[in-house]
């Protein structure tokens, strides 16, 4: 099985995650729905590391979505919080763990470091700014 979600889950287990505070700990279950079946992944987070088991035990946080939604999150095509906002992903239990776990998902593939963006900006090449002028939204 090599769907993007499975690959991401596999990657979570390897190594430390310095993005996570040392104090973050808890259990998360991912319920991936597909064709009327649900696949369970159980994550145990502690000491900036993640242990992954394929079992359906209770957890502090349960995330439930179609596999296709998890795949889109795993490739960075869908922001986890937007998936939650659309109700494509549901959260049971401690939503704070979801906000932490979010950091372990990859961002979009073409995202730029601000330094890269500064180097490639037309402004730096002497051209004028393009795009609509977005101001404060309030």
């Amino acid at each position: 099985m090599t769907t993007p979600a499975a690959k991401l889950i596999g990657r979570l287990e390897s190594g430390r995650h310095p993005d996570l505070p040392e104090s973050t700990s808890g259990t998360v279950r991912l319920d991936l729905r597909e064709d009327g079946r649900t696949e369970h992944w159980h994550l145990t987070i502690a000491d900036q590391q993640v242990r992954v088991d394929q079992r359906g035990d209770d957890a502090d946080l349960v995330l439930r979505a179609d596999r296709a939604v998890f795949d889109r999150i795993a490739t960075g095509a869908l922001h986890p919080a937007a998936a939650l906002g659309r109700n494509d992903l549901t959260v049971h239990g401690d939503i704070r763990l979801f906000m932490m776990l979010r950091r372990l998902f990859p961002g979009p593939p073409n995202a730029r470091h601000p330094r890269e963006a500064a180097d490639s900006t037309p402004a730096r090449a002497g051209a004028a700014n393009s795009g609509p002028a977005a101001g404060s939204q309030r």
């Binding site: 993005d19 505070p21 040392e22 104090s23 502090d60 439930r64 922001h79 919080a81 937007a82 906002g85 659309r86 109700n87 494509d88 549901t90 959260v91 049971h92 239990g93 401690d94 939503i95 704070r96 906000m99 932490m100 979010r102 950091r103 372990l104 998902f105 990859p106 961002g107 979009p108 073409n110 995202a111 730029r112 470091h113 601000p114 330094r115 963006a117 500064a118 900006t121 402004a123 730096r124 700014n129 393009s130 795009g131 609509p132 002028a133 977005a134 101001g135 404060s136 939204q137 309030r138």
Partner: protein, 691 residues
């Protein structure tokens, strides 16, 4: 003439109606019942026997409760009605309205009471940006048996639902509810209307029902809660009624603006009514900084939540970077479906250093070193962000440049309107831009981080490094931003390092941050108190006399109370006590003249010209950082400052304020009191070296 608007609010929910309590669908005005960024009621009009009502009077009981006293018929020169109506409206998790119809005649009355009901489920962002209005198909299900009208909107799995129910028997149709009220002579009839608002989650349940944070929320008695909030705040004793009124109102406004985000067990401030009824990182951080001597319970909630929501990866759409502190968070359809990048938006260059500043300042007041230890990791990430991602050109300055070229903010500093960063002649620099106040914040964040590293995190080497970097930044800044011919700092540097020379209120933020050498502070004070910047009510965002100056331009000449609170605090930091008192005096006068909640911004017209603070239509109220700003001004003129385990008090009150006492100021000292008395002739002015 535009009608008066009446609001009730609770959490991130609010309802805005006209003076009769009616709401008539207006796609471009924030009227109606909103919650979680969605309009659940857009039409809510009461008729008796087909007639609209007119208001006799109103009792705004508190921020979540209002009573309208009404009679049928249009306004006439003489009202002698047989019937009158009381609409008692309150807002908590749901919207409630008790309708009481009184028959004043000696005959029985038979009346048709009709409530017209409708909604469009608009996102607040649609209202902000007319033209982007979506046409939503609203499913309406009337059910007279259940005395209920359901209004529902679906888009894929996204769903919002309003359910209106009545306690009295009622005929329900698709456009409202009709009651046949039979009322005894001198009798009354009443019904309770309840509007439940659902944010659809799994299996049509409200999504909040599945959250542990939400289950732990206690259902509060809102009156009791407000009483407790006011009791925990210090007591102001003064003969000055308008100052007392301003103080009490500011506390109540801050109470009104608290909400529980999904990821928090406790409440924190939203930005303000009506445009910013959600989490705004900058507004929340600033409000906490302003209110530490008064309502310190907000700060740990905001710090924990912003740490939880801290940026984790690079994302151009949301302008996210690891370690960056959030700018704005929304729950509505526009955010969920990406019409706005606000599901978690990070387009702000100042929130990240402000986060570190608040963590340190909070500890100085509270002595809560446990929280500083708990938040060591996010604080380190925030400090790292300054150099790794903030400094996008590698020249040592924190800059911003939107990577979301269609939806992102052009200006990611507090002056976030698109034209705000300009030189004296209206030329705008290219991106990435480095605005001056952000450099001040970065400097302060490094110094404060150094203190925390030494005193709490047990990492003196890191503290040394941060101090070294702060010193270098200060030196560099004072070379590159200083305009020697004009004797002030440039508003910004463009990418080529060219200074943007507009004269602005940002100078006060530099004083507040401490990045200004003492010998230059006098020149800044002269500018800030000079006729071009000072309107009489307060310091303008941008000084008159420059080509782009516009007294009704949000960031090009208008006056912001929160900005003035920072300016006054900065002036006192450099011992310009009389100057700080003058600004406080103007702001207190503004608040007193307006009488209601302090607006976010007022026009920059000279006070001598208008005699009255002119409010801008775009300005919302109440606003957390405006109400917080007034409290900060009070703390500033009292000279409140924590020093070790003690509270220092060094009053420098504006003339005419009389004697004031602020009792039971909370902090690591327990509770402490402050006393101050104005001098009949005002605070002596310190003449700096320059003049």
């Amino acid at each position: 003439m535009r009608q008066e608007r009446v609001h009730v609010m609770a959490g991130n929910a609010f309802a805005i109606s006209d003076a009769q309590g009616d709401v008539e669908g207006d796609p471009t005005a924030p009227t109606g019942l909103f919650s979680w960024d969605t309009r659940f009621l857009a039409h809510w009009v009461l008729r008796i026997d087909g007639e609209r009502l007119q208001a006799l009077s109103r009792d705004d009981v508190t921020y979540f409760e209002t009573r309208f006293f009404l009679v049928p018929g249009t306004a006439s020169h003489y009202v002698d009605a047989d019937v009158s109506v009381i609409r008692h409206r309150s807002l908590n998790d749901s919207f409630n309205e008790r309708l009481i119809v009184l028959n004043h005649s000696p005959e029985p009355a038979e009346l048709t009471v009709r409530m017209e009901i409708g909604t469009d489920f608009a996102d607040i962002a649609d209202v902000t940006k007319p033209g982007s209005v979506r046409d939503r198909r609203v499913e309406v299900v009337p059910d007279s048996q259940l005395r209920q009208l359901r209004l529902r909107y679906r888009r894929e799995r996204f769903g919002r639902e309003a359910v209106v129910t009545s306690t009295e028997p009622v005929e329900v149709d698709e456009r409202g509810m009709t009651f046949r009220a039979q009322i005894e002579p001198h009798g009354q009839w009443e019904t309770d209307l309840h509007v439940g608002m659902t944010v659809r989650g799994e299996g049509d349940r409200d999504m909040r029902a599945d959250l542990a944070t939400h289950r732990l929320h206690v259902h509060r008695d809102m009156r009791e809660d407000l009483r407790g909030w006011l009791e925990r705040a210090p007591t102001l004793v003064t003969d000055n009624n308008s100052l007392q009124g301003t103080y009490q109102r500011s506390l109540v406004d801050l109470a009104a603006l608290r909400y529980e985000p999904l990821s928090s067990l406790e409440r924190m401030p939203v930005g303000g009514l009506p445009w910013a009824m959600s989490l705004y990182g900058r507004d929340a951080l600033v409000t906490c900084l302003q209110t530490l001597p008064f309502t310190p319970e907000l700060a740990p909630v905001v710090l924990r939540l912003l740490a939880l929501l801290q940026g984790g990866q690079l994302d151009d759409t949301y302008e996210e970077e690891p370690g960056k502190i959030l700018a704005e968070l929304r729950y509505g359809e526009a955010a969920a479906f990406g019409h706005e990048p606000t599901t978690m938006y990070y387009g702000a260059a100042d929130t990240t250093p402000l986060f570190v500043i608040l963590l340190d300042e909070y500890e100085r007041w509270s002595g809560d070193t446990d929280l500083v230890r708990e938040l060591r990791h996010p604080a380190r990430l925030a400090l790292d962000w300054i150099d790794e991602y903030g400094d996008s050109l590698g020249d040592g300055y924190v800059r911003y440049q939107r990577r979301n070229r269609h939806q992102g903010l052009v200006n990611q500093c507090w002056k976030d309107s698109a034209e705000a960063i300009t030189d004296r002649d209206g030329r705008q620099p290219e991106a990435p831009r480095a605005t001056c106040e952000v450099q001040g914040y970065a400097y302060a964040a490094k110094l404060r981080g150094a203190r925390l590293a030494r005193q709490v995190w047990g990492d003196p080497e890191y503290g040394d490094r941060l101090e070294r970097e702060a010193a270098q930044l200060k030196q560099r800044f004072n070379t590159d931003f200083w305009l020697a011919d004009r004797q002030y700092y440039a508003l910004a540097l463009g990418p080529d390092g060219a200074p943007v020379d507009a004269l602005t209120s940002n100078l006060g933020h530099l004083l507040w941050s401490g990045i200004v050498p003492a010998e230059r502070a006098g020149a800044l004070a002269e500018h800030l108190l000079g006729p071009d910047l000072l309107s009489g009510w307060g310091v303008r965002t941008l000084a008159a006399g420059q080509r782009v100056y516009n007294p009704v331009g949000s960031h090009l000449g208008a006056v912001w109370p929160w900005d003035n609170a920072i300016v006054a605090s900065g002036l006192r930091r450099y011992h310009f006590d009389a100057e700080a008192a003058r600004i406080a005096d103007g702001m207190f006068a503004m608040a007193a003249r307006i009488g209601g909640p302090a607006p976010e911004v007022i026009a920059g017209y000279p006070r001598t010209l208008t005699k009255y603070p002119v409010q801008l239509p775009i300005a919302g109220h109440p606003q957390a950082w405006s109400s917080g700003g007034l409290l900060m001004l009070l703390a500033t003129v009292l000279g409140l400052r924590p020093c070790g385990d003690d509270l220092l008090v060094r009053p420098a009150l504006p003339a005419g304020l009389g004697q004031i006492e602020l009792l039971d100021i909370p902090g690591k000292w327990g509770r402490s009191d402050a006393y101050g008395r104005d001098r009949a002739d005002g605070v002596p002015t310190r003449r700096p070296g320059l003049s």
